[in-house]
């Protein structure tokens, strides 16, 4: 089936609105005018491509890609999944980038001031390009929860940030992955910007005992869904009437 048409309209009730006062920074950073609806033009239906030649062999190994004197401290995990579109088809060749705090909940960033220790062996960034079936995977340590200035005692649940490029700029997205069974997911002012509980659950990776590496690393499965395109199959037939 051909799917070269414009992208499905984004379901804005599934995404967080711009203005979410419980997340204070959004108050002054949320546009107030309505968005201008624009049927996709070629400017949105095209997008950059990233070849495998851009990637190094350790790009999807956060345990080793910054290590100086040994492995980073923390629970060793594998994160794997597929990038699909809304038509449930694989998105091959998608660049997936990820970044995270270390096991103590500390980011390696010059503006980060949390007192938890920096891990000399952990950088916290990685990337992968999906294969023909839309699959990606990486190895890392499980990030810690961390406090952040919002309320006087707000904490982020353990999470990994994801940035994904599909085949078109209209598919561009950034989101976060959470971990199955973490009670802090339901106490987070950023998670709760998403209005629908089912939508939040779409961001919770499942612990997958069958994919764990025995005596080595736990595994979490995290699929990502990008926008799908309308089929042009019916349109061609309609033209003559």
């Amino acid at each position: 089936m051909s799917d070269q048409g414009p992208f499905y309209q984004r379901d804005r009730s599934w995404h967080p609105p711009a203005f979410t006062p419980q997340y204070k920074t959004s108050i002054l950073r949320s546009p107030q005018y309505p968005l201008l609806s624009l049927d996709n033009t070629i400017s949105e239906m095209t997008g950059p491509t990233f070849g495998h030649n851009k990637l190094g062999p350790l790009d999807n190994d956060l345990i080793r890609n910054f290590a100086k004197t040994g492995d980073p401290i923390g629970q060793r995990i594998i994160v794997y999944g597929r990038v699909l579109d809304e038509n449930a088809r694989a998105v091959p060749g998608a660049l997936v980038e990820f970044w995270q705090a270390n096991a103590g909940g500390r980011y390696r960033h010059k503006k980060e001031t949390y007192l938890a220790a920096i891990d000399p062996n952990f950088g916290g960034c990685g990337r992968a390009i999906t294969d023909e079936e839309g699959r990606y995977w990486f190895r890392t340590i499980k990030p810690g929860a961390y406090p952040w200035p919002n309320g006087v005692n707000d904490w982020r649940p353990a999470h990994i940030h994801f940035s994904v490029f599909g085949h078109a700029f209209a598919q561009r997205m950034i989101t976060q992955m959470y971990f199955e069974g973490d009670p802090m997911i339901w106490q987070c002012p950023i998670v709760s910007t998403i209005p629908d509980k089912k939508a939040i659950e779409q961001l919770i990776a499942a612990l997958d005992r069958e994919s764990t590496l025995p005596m080595d690393a736990l595994a979490y499965k995290f699929d990502i869904v990008l926008r799908g395109r309308r089929s042009t199959m019916f349109e061609n037939r309609m033209e003559g009437n």
Partner: protein, 208 residues
């Protein structure tokens, strides 16, 4: 129960947070030795065709303060008006121009800056030509979902006046929020495109 539609829901967006640079431009935040170079910093090489330009500006929040922790991505056609993308079916774009750029806003001044080329015109879906433009995508702490907008060129008055996308902006008073002013800096044509997230001059953002 009726039959099921075999569709999935798009993954919901979450903010890029304050540390988006760790993942997007690690070298810029001194995480060195992991990537050779940050992706998207350089758009133009010696063989790229087209007029060299600088695109710069700042992003202001509702209090008029520039964002110092944002990430800006641009996507544009080459000098002939072709996109360097497998989805481009109208011809072959300049192989020396990817059309995609990524820059953080400066941690002190809040400025972003791209060295690129002026794009050619590309058609609207009905075949009419749109005015030359650059697509922008902005993420930052406090922005729950990436914001799409477009930059148009202040010295393209005739093309802007007939652009079918600009014509769709009902409140004409808002059209100038998408138009960058041109000046010369160090001999380079420089377009300044400031983005306002809120206020009287809030930039037009698109639901694409």
């Amino acid at each position: 129960m009726v039959q099921k539609l075999d569709r999935l829901k798009e993954s919901p967006s979450q903010t890029a947070g304050p540390y988006v640079h760790i993942g997007a431009t690690p070298n810029w935040v001194e995480i060195t030795g992991v990537w050779n170079e940050d992706l998207g910093l350089v758009l133009v090489g010696p063989e790229t065709k087209g007029e060299r330009i600088v695109v710069q500006g700042r992003i202001f929040d509702g209090s008029g303060t520039p964002l110092k922790d944002a990430l800006v991505e641009i996507w544009q056609a080459d000098a002939q008006g072709l996109y360097n993308s497998p989805q481009e079916k109208r011809g072959k774009a300049d192989p020396h121009f990817t059309g995609w750029g990524r820059q953080p806003t400066d941690g002190t001044t809040g400025e972003y800056r791209f060295e690129t080329i002026k794009p050619g015109r590309v058609p609207y879906k009905d075949g009419r030509l749109m005015a030359p433009h650059i697509t922008f995508w902005i993420v930052a702490r406090g922005i729950n979902m990436g914001l799409h907008t477009r930059m148009y060129f202040g010295d393209e008055e005739a093309a802007n006046a007939e652009c079918p996308v600009l014509a769709r902006i009902e409140h004409k008073v808002r059209v100038p929020t998408l138009i960058a002013s041109r000046s010369e800096e160090k001999g380079m044509p420089t377009y300044t495109f400031d983005i306002r997230l809120q206020g009287e001059k809030e930039t037009v953002f698109f639901d694409i």
